[in-house]
Subunit: 122 residues, 4 copies
């Protein structure tokens, strides 16, 4: 569909139309984001990792997971907008940092031995 | 910078180069996402809502907040990729649902009285 | 009412009677705990800190908060039981560590200036 | 060691000695609790459920998990104290409710088929 900038604009308008800006402080939005992530966890908590990999094949459960991910995205986009953070630029910067901190060779070597000490991606 | 599709591709390559795909089940990634959201909360927990609204004005604190938001974004993008969910489409669908559930007139009326019962945005 | 050991025993029996032990791995229980904490956050997210301090005065909202705290407690007790961790002993040990890391004099001095760098209690 | 009431008193004194009470609103403490739960999740996120069941057998990793559980306990106890909630009574009440909502026979029957719809314990 659209771009992340368009989504950001739509969420901003959604909040403005309802006079919700006073509630949308970074602190409150971070809590709301965490609440939505909690709902996402609840959808996956009793599944094995393997079952979780097939969750979208179940139409009903898949729809719930997709809706929770949507809620997380909406609050994340809103929080970034309120803070003036460019989500994609921030993520790109962090990924570049992580590439330095987790060089390919060392990361591959450590994967088998110490999954915990190898925090994938970031 | 780029689009969310480009970021998704970069995060995917990052994981593949390090042989981290086996760890990147939806269940594990949802936990990692929640862990990063926890770090974001920790940056804002002792601030008043008003202080949180000015957090980016402090270069050091602002940089930490930006980095945590970046981590959240990276895991969210990775989770959506692994599940085959289009983040922007899912968010747009959810926003359309929320527009029906929270009609502008009713939402504005309820804002002052019952902030809790008026879950902004979603 | 009772002691934490009695609660632990009751939660254990509750799970056993329903054959839920296979689901109660530490990983799954930590996710469930996080999910319940997310519900607790949702109850407080749009309140100001001051409003949150009065939340128990509203019978309906207070009952919801109490119920979410109960859920968090139940999963925490269950997780500790499954891991063989003595919650009270672990907390006492950590508090002793924190007393060393945050000496009274320095902590008091820093409170006004740097609330973020003064992580209360732990 | 001690009772939960004694731990509550110790955490209260710890905060008071450092003049941290102004920061300890329910809203802030719920965020701190969520932040600590996020750290706990981070310790378990790349483990399989089976590995998570053996995590305490690794002295170093086990110590980290125990410390995170301690932090969660401390903030939970502090939050309950500030709200005037009796944690054990609240948990007992909730467990009684759950016993009604999840009768043993039905819960056992549904466990195999629908792990998601059978939210263990609560």
């Amino acid at each position: 569909m659209e771009t992340i900038e368009e989504l950001t604009g739509r969420v901003r308008a959604f909040a403005a139309e309802r006079d919700w800006q006073p509630f949308h402080t970074p602190k409150n939005l971070a809590m709301a984001l965490a609440g939505e992530v909690g709902e996402l966890l609840a959808e996956l908590q009793w599944l094995t990792p393997e079952e979780s990999a097939r969750v979208m094949a179940d139409p009903e459960h898949g729809a719930r997971v997709r809706a929770e991910i949507a809620d997380v995205t909406i609050y994340l986009v809103r929080l970034a907008d309120v803070l003036g953070v460019d989500l994609l630029a921030a993520a790109a910067d962090k990924l570049a940092d992580s590439a330095v901190r987790y060089p390919v060779e060392r990361a591959r070597g450590s994967a088998a031995k110490a999954p915990r000490d190898q925090p994938p991606v970031t």
